[in-house]
């Protein structure tokens, strides 16, 4: 008889990748987590940097340390992460609340999935995210050109 060890089905962080066998939604979900962690990391640093204004130090303004091009590019990456995380998060909320996934049906062969029903929502949200991304990119190019 085979011996079972506890948690032998736990794959940890590497399990997130799934060796390419999962659908698009699953990979967006993983990207959602990664962008969320990146935004949280930035947010914590942002709290400390912006708190310096209590001492009259505005490090992000013109001529100061965080106004350099490298940080402008970093800010754009955070903005891009936000654009994706916000719209994908909105999609996840809609799906969690049962919107855009179709009505429940009897599981009769040939089975249908709700993926085709909610895919248009995914496309719309990613397009909105892309619009925001493009606007941020345009602003970055303008800022670097000045």
């Amino acid at each position: 008889m085979a011996e079972f060890t506890r948690f032998d089905n736990r794959l940890g962080i590497l399990g997130w990748l799934g060796k390419g066998k999962w659908g698009l939604e699953r990979y967006l979900y993983i990207l959602h987590r990664l962008t969320g962690l990146a935004i949280l990391f930035y947010f914590m640093m942002h709290i400390f940097v912006t708190s310096l204004r209590a001492y009259g130090i505005y490090l992000w303004t013109e001529g100061n340390f965080f106004h350099q091009p490298i940080f402008r590019i970093g800010e754009f990456l955070v903005f891009a992460a936000f654009a994706f995380h916000a719209f994908n998060g909105l999609r996840l909320v809609f799906v969690e609340l049962g919107f855009a996934v179709g009505k429940p049906i009897e599981p009769i062969f040939p089975y249908e999935t709700c993926i085709s029903k909610q895919r248009p929502l995914l496309v719309v949200m990613m397009l909105l995210s892309a619009v925001l991304f493009a606007m941020g990119g345009y602003e970055l190019i303008m800022a670097l050109g000045r």
Partner: protein, 131 residues
């Protein structure tokens, strides 16, 4: 049941952040929409600090952002950590970190508001004295 409430709070905080953080990002990082070159100049930043509405806005953003972010991190760590007691310790640590950062950020925003308002009043008084 308690966890359901926290999860609902996480979703609601996310929805509120979509608008608040969306406004913050668009206002500060897509300046061309507002017909300006740069919305994060020192004078504009100080001007925002002087307004009570922005003080409320910054504190709301801070609280909602910390709750949404740290609760999300707690969920990810809970999935990766197998020991139940370790999960509880992580939850306590993240709660304490959240409360401390919220207190620190709110205090700094309040001081910045007070300084900016004081500066504004001094400038107004000087303008009055100089006729």
């Amino acid at each position: 049941m308690k966890e359901t409430k926290y999860w609902t709070g996480h979703i609601l905080a996310g929805a509120a952040l979509l608008f608040l953080l969306g406004f913050h990002f668009i206002y500060t990082h897509i300046a061309f929409l507002f017909g300006t070159e740069d919305n994060i100049t020192e004078s504009l930043s100080k001007g925002r600090d002087a307004q009570p509405v922005f003080l409320v806005f910054f504190i709301a953003l801070l609280g909602l952002g910390l709750y949404h972010g740290l609760y999300g991190l707690k969920n990810i760590l809970s999935e990766l950590i197998t020991c139940e007691n370790c999960r509880k310790i992580v939850a306590i640590i993240l709660t304490v970190v959240g409360i401390l950062l919220f207190a620190f950020g709110s205090y700094s925003s309040f001081v910045a508001h007070k300084n900016a308002t004081g500066m504004k009043n001094t400038v107004s008084r000087l303008e009055v004295n100089n006729g």
